[in-house]
């Protein structure tokens, strides 16, 4: 019973952390991907893919971590068990966030190579015609 309570409390904390990250990234990630993809429907697709990757990656790391560690064993104090699950969840969140950020960096660099910089994107103001 204690292991079940520890697992439930740990997963509730992981879910709260995951929801916080998804909520904080919801608008910025969607806007960035729409801008990078060029078309709203492509941006929406990759936004969904990124969010699924964030959730799945986090849960995968939590499950692997609880399998590898002793957080759910009988002798472990409940608080330590819950914190161990939360720490695995945060590790998974960090890794997933790193993967999504790396993908955004790659596409930003690719876009920068193929399109000239516009005013405001690190450029000087445009010249006055006939001035």
């Amino acid at each position: 019973m204690t292991s079940l309570v520890v697992a439930g409390a740990g997963m509730a904390l992981v879910a709260a952390a995951l929801a916080t990250v998804l909520l904080a990234l919801r608008r910025p990630l969607a806007a960035t991907l729409i801008e990078l993809c060029g078309e709203p429907h492509r941006g929406r697709l990759w936004n969904r893919v990124a969010r699924v990757a964030l959730v799945a990656g986090t849960l995968l790391v939590v499950l692997l971590g609880s399998w590898l560690s002793t957080s759910l064993e009988a002798g472990t104090p409940p608080l330590l068990g819950v914190m161990a699950l939360l720490r695995w969840g945060l590790t998974g969140l960090l890794l997933s966030l790193g993967v999504v950020s790396a993908a955004v960096v790659q596409y930003t660099l690719r876009l920068g190579r193929h399109t000239p910089p516009e005013y405001g994107a690190g450029s000087v103001p445009p010249r006055q015609v006939g001035g």
């Binding site: 904080a24 910025p28 516009e118 010249r127």
Partner: protein
């Protein structure tokens, strides 16, 4: 004093300090990213990602249980030293994450200045004042008003 109580107190201190750091950095980071990233969408994404990374690493480091003694043989001094170790690891993690973000910002600022140099260089060519062969692009343009 039970080790779990010490762990909880030190963990709460770490979470509070992490939130304070994030709130302290947020407006300044937002201004800089608005300038460096070029578009509000990208600036918003990197602002959210940077602050989330600082918060996650801070909480991860601030909830480490390394240094706490066994509950059956723990004295108050041992628990206190365990809490100090926990806070020390938290500070290492928080400092590391802030420095990593700062390193990324420095790289972004360099790229921003290279883009400005390149644009000014080609603008000079278009104006009919081509730079001499081998001449480096002119200095970076002043920041936008």
């Amino acid at each position: 004093m039970a080790p779990m109580l010490g762990f909880a107190v030190a963990g709460l201190i770490a979470v509070g300090a992490t939130l304070a750091t994030v709130m302290l950095l947020r407006p300044h980071l937002q201004r800089l990213l608005d300038e460096v990233c070029g578009t509000p969408a990208r600036a918003g994404f990197w602002l959210a990602t940077s602050l989330l990374a600082i918060a996650i690493i801070g909480v991860l480091a601030g909830t480490s249980t390394y240094g706490y003694p066994d509950a059956a043989t723990a004295s108050a001094q041992d628990v206190f030293l365990g809490g100090v170790t926990q806070l020390r690891l938290f500070l290492v993690g928080l400092l590391g994450s802030v420095l990593a973000i700062a390193w990324g910002l420095v790289q972004a600022i360099r790229a921003f200045e290279r883009r400005a140099d390149l644009h000014a260089y080609y603008a000079a060519i278009e104006r009919g004042a081509p730079p001499a062969p081998g001449q480096r692009p002119p200095a970076a343009a002043p920041p936008r008003a």
